[in-house]
């Protein structure tokens, strides 16, 4: 089973001008654990918003790769966003769902992906042509390259271990995170 921290480290390796939006909970901690970066937007709330925030950034910054890293529970709250992303068709947007089949922050209750929901099939059904399920290191490395290729939109369900690594927390102040990102993009 893939280790979530190793997956995120690989996806953010040699990131260049990559913008990364992280969904609340485990994936925000993963992005912080990877070192943190001015071009990261780790969310502490707004469950279900990560992919659409990524779409907004991708439309505003079409020359940059934009990666959304979020959890299966967070994405399950916003399956319709996958249809919206397919329709808008931003070439520079990748949504990577770290799927541990658990609501990790609330007691490890099973999510719908443990009950039969196939997120890559949902994304493909919504019209995202490059929709994949990643189960091994080679797949993670290919996904990292796809993020930078900007031939998307791309969706990946990355099946990870349900293990919970130690908390590494990003800044909590949303206004600070927003201005840090905008300044790094040169739009503040």
């Amino acid at each position: 089973m893939l280790d979530r921290r190793a997956v995120v480290r690989t996806l953010l390796a040699d990131r260049g001008d990559l913008v990364c939006v992280a969904g609340l909970g485990g994936t925000a901690w993963d992005v912080a654990a990877a070192g943190g970066h001015d071009l990261d937007l780790p969310l502490w709330g707004a469950m279900g918003a990560a992919a659409m925030v990524g779409l907004g950034i991708a439309l505003a910054q079409p020359e940059r790769p934009v990666l959304v890293v979020t959890g299966d529970g967070e994405q399950l709250m916003a399956l319709g966003a996958l249809a919206t992303i397919a329709g808008a068709a931003p070439a520079n947007l990748t949504v990577a769902v770290l799927d541990n089949e658990r609501y990790g922050e609330t007691g490890a209750q099973v999510t719908h992906t443990a009950l039969g929901t196939d997120l890559a099939a949902v994304a493909a059904g919504c019209g995202i042509a490059d929709a994949r399920t990643v189960r091994d290191d080679a797949g993670v490395a290919e996904l990292r390259d796809a993020v930078h290729a900007r031939r998307g939109p791309c969706f990946a369900a990355v099946k990870i271990s349900p293990d919970r690594p130690p908390l590494v927390l990003p800044p909590r102040d949303g206004a600070l995170l927003a201005r840090r990102l905008r300044a790094a993009l040169g739009v503040e």
Binding site: G45, G48, V53, L55, G56, I57, A58, A60, G80, G87
Partner: protein
């Protein structure tokens, strides 16, 4: 009405339009779709628009989110997103469930809109007459994109005209 709103959005450099369509917004959506400087994104639910607007602003693009009043309630939780980011939000809401409404199912959500937006920290402008529209939209654009405020313009049913339900005879 739409002939007034689109030029104002263009004047203020709005580049991203998100919407769940409403009949009252039809002509505005068409004008925006014909504008090569604007990207129009069809949403599956109105709350997606709160996140789209936040992302667009983070990336340096101005947006406007269009919806019918029945969709405002869908946005409650994510109305906190632009607020916590201390960023702007511009909503253009076509009202139902008020002046002359003939579909009772529109009343509960429509009547809740002003209080709901206020509770969620969104400033509310109303336009109930044609002459109200341009000043209200211009004010909202200034509040959103000079003052980083969250603001909604409610385009009243008195302005739009109540939807007619005429059965085939």
């Amino acid at each position: 009405m739409d002939g007034v709103i689109h030029p104002l959005l263009a004047e203020y450099g709005v580049r991203v339009i998100g919407h769940v369509p409403d009949a009252g917004h039809t002509a505005l959506i068409q004008r925006c779709e014909r504008d090569p400087a604007m990207q129009v994104v069809t949403l599956t639910t109105e709350e997606e628009g709160m996140a789209l607007a936040a992302g667009a602003w983070l990336g340096g693009a101005r947006s406007a989110i269009l919806m019918q009043s029945s969709g405002v309630g869908n946005c409650c939780n994510l109305l906190g997103l632009p607020r916590i980011l201390a960023g702007p939000l511009l909503l253009l809401v076509t009202m139902r469930g008020e002046w002359g409404e003939e579909n009772p199912w529109q009343l509960p959500a429509g009547q809740a809109v002003p209080a709901l937006l206020s509770t969620c920290g969104v400033l509310v402008h109303r336009a109930d007459h044609a002459d109200d529209v341009a000043p209200a939209v211009r004010s909202a654009l200034g509040l959103a994109y000079a003052s980083n405020a969250r603001v909604a313009v409610l385009l009243g049913q008195r302005l739009l005209g109540a939807k007619a339900f005429e059965e085939a005879s």
